[in-house]
């Protein structure tokens, strides 16, 4: 049964990659990459149960954190043109 879940998650990851490759605007690509990251978390969690190594769940937690920080950083980079705070009180 874990195998079914893994197959479904892999199919979803493939579809997300299709949208990331097609996707006409840059926001579509960010959305697809975000979804890919979430599915990676799920994949690691299910793989941990399939291979009876539940310590993999720590990696899944880490991936969830990194994925969120990555998306917010991308959006900030995209909005401000850089990761640093604006120096002379520009928009923020």
């Amino acid at each position: 049964m874990f195998t079914v879940a893994i197959a479904a998650i892999l199919a979803t990851m493939t579809l997300a990659l299709v949208r990331a490759a097609l996707g006409p605007t840059v926001f579509d690509r960010i959305l697809a990459v975000n979804m890919f990251g979430t599915k990676t978390v799920l994949l690691i969690a299910v793989m941990a149960f399939l291979s009876n190594r539940t310590d993999f769940l720590d990696l899944a937690l880490l991936y969830a954190l990194v994925n969120y920080v990555g998306v917010i950083a991308l959006l900030r980079l995209f909005r401000l043109g850089g990761l640093a705070d604006p120096v002379d009180g520009g928009e923020g």
Binding site: T25, F27, A45, A64
Partner: protein, 115 residues
């Protein structure tokens, strides 16, 4: 009792997988960015939620369940936040939603932001 828990866990895993695939099809097939955002959201809430609940039922009461609850909590907090940030960023950057009063597909204003 163990069989009942197994059945419930399998039902959760299969339903969650189905929701994940539906969201994946949605993110490819839906017509513009804001509707695709909706398709991506279902995989993060229902798909991830049901799959992780199914794994929790398999794990029983242990530290593993605590970790799964932490992952679920993190996903359920961060996923709507990043979806909101994405939608707001797209809107403030001038990406118009697809509105077609005459029933024909219109230009979603995507030309400016196409890459």
């Amino acid at each position: 009792m163990s069989l009942a828990i197994d059945l419930a866990s399998w039902a959760c895993l299969v339903t969650g997988s189905a929701f994940a695939i539906v969201g994946g099809i949605g993110i490819v097939r839906l017509p513009d960015f804001y509707t695709r955002l909706h398709g991506g959201g279902i995989t993060d809430t229902l798909g991830a939620g049901l799959v992780l609940v199914g794994l929790m039922l398999q794990a029983g009461l242990s530290l593993v369940t605590v970790k799964l609850v932490m992952i679920l909590f993190l996903l359920w907090v961060t996923s709507p936040t990043s979806a909101h940030a994405l939608a707001k960023s797209a809107r403030t950057n001038g990406l118009e939603p697809l509105i077609a009063p005459d029933g024909k597909p219109g230009d979603a204003g995507g030309a400016k932001w196409s890459t």
